[in-house]
């Protein structure tokens, strides 16, 4: 495939087009809106489904094949918050609270971006390892903790009105927050039940998945476009951060994935995971531990800048890169 073909394959996929449709709806001031419970239900479905799929795959994968990729993923989860933090302090001269908050987001993962990458791989034939979803869980948690530590280190005084509880509460949220719980729980369930016992639920969780994801991206488009307003205030520096740092992380991830012995598709998906910024698990935990950090800052960056960047440009590039390094 030529670069342009790769880009086309991505932009013309139902998933990306649905995102564009959602953006269009907001820009045209259409009264289209998803009822809140539909949004919540789709996230529950998608997160659980990823987990189940990953767990079922894990149940038929020799542990040996997973160990190295898992270790590498963990390492990236500890490293990338630091690089993001350093960039924000050094280049954007951001205060340490907000820098730590953003670091937690950029170290962590966006499940939907991950899914878009997996889907893209299936469309181009670069299928990724079945156990990748399990790695998402591995990448998500430590990064958030590191990010909070970076900010909290700068900030002995506990969050207002919450006493020392806030820090514990935040850790509790990181580990039991609904998105991580569904992901990890799904992996555990699928792994314990095993591929065969999961077969009867496949029509619901596997066959229906792509369509549900498309519907969800329509809503993501509606939400992300609302963030565009805030972009102006955010300023060019934040845009630079929201594109450059993820890109660097992505390249790093693809390269490390290759070293870890992942397939071309696997390396590209790992790259996408590392490049992506969380906008569910991280914001929830950060809002608890760092109430003084600006939500408009981290939500605009991860949802308004980095998510579309990876979805439209990043993913195909990480795959192209994985081919060059891998093939």
């Amino acid at each position: 495939m030529s670069p342009t073909e790769i880009l086309a394959t991505n932009i013309l996929s139902p998933v990306v087009l649905a995102f564009g449709l959602g953006v269009a709806a907001t820009l045209l001031r259409s009264d289209l809106e998803f009822p809140e419970p539909l949004y919540q239900s789709l996230s529950i479905y998608l997160l659980l489904a990823i987990g189940l799929k990953g767990g079922a795959a894990l149940s038929v994968t020799p542990l040996g094949d997973v160990l190295v990729p898992a270790g590498v993923t963990l390492g990236l989860g500890l490293l990338t918050p630091l690089t993001a933090y350093a960039f924000l302090i050094a280049v954007l001269r951001m205060d340490r609270i907000n820098a730590g908050a953003l670091a937690a987001h950029y170290g962590s993962v966006s499940a939907v971006t991950f899914l878009a990458a997996v889907t893209f791989g299936e469309a181009t034939g670069d299928v990724s390892e079945g156990f990748m979803p399990a790695l998402v869980a591995l990448l998500e948690v430590p990064a958030i903790v590191v990010g909070l530590l970076l900010a909290r280190g700068a900030h002995a005084r506990p969050g207002e009105g919450e006493g020392s509880g806030s820090w514990a509460a935040a850790l509790h949220e990181v580990v039991t927050g609904k998105s991580i719980f569904l992901l990890v729980g799904g992996v555990a369930l699928g792994w314990v039940a095993g591929k065969e016992r999961m077969a009867p639920v496949d029509p619901f969780f596997v066959a229906g998945f792509q369509g549900a994801l498309t519907l969800f991206l329509l809503e993501m488009g509606l939400v992300a476009a609302r963030r565009l307003r805030d972009l102006r205030e955010a300023g060019l520096l934040l845009v630079a951060f929201g594109t450059f740092v993820p890109f660097a992380h992505g390249v790093l991830g693809v390269w490390a994935g290759g070293l870890a012995g992942l397939s071309i598709g696997g390396a590209a998906v790992l790259g996408t995971m590392v490049a992506s910024a969380s906008y569910i698990a991280a914001p929830a935990a950060v809002r608890i531990a760092l109430p003084e950090a600006k939500p408009s800052l981290y939500l605009t960056a991860s949802l308004g800048i980095t998510f579309p960047f990876n979805l439209i440009l990043g993913i195909p590039v990480y795959f192209a890169l994985a081919r060059i390094l891998g093939g």
Partner: protein, 100 residues
Amino acid sequence: MESKNAVLVTIVAERLLRDRLTEKIRALGAKGFTLTEVQGEGTRGVHAHEFQGPSVKIETLVRAEVADQIVEAISKYFEHHAVIVYLSEARVVRAKKFGS
């Protein structure tokens, strides 16, 4: 039935404060509360519902002293959180039920 005055305390807050606030008001002596999911806009403009779900409105009928303590307790969150609180007069029957 003879009715007594009580104070209706209304709190609107971003969702993540929900459990902390309900525990707090119970601890301060509220005998119950009614919770409604709401959306809102204020001066802070935290669109928290994108990652937290809808905001919550908590209404509790209490006697005057308790009402003031609740306001006091909640003011701790004013600086950094999306939360407001206001009081209004209400007449209730079964005053005991509301601690009056």
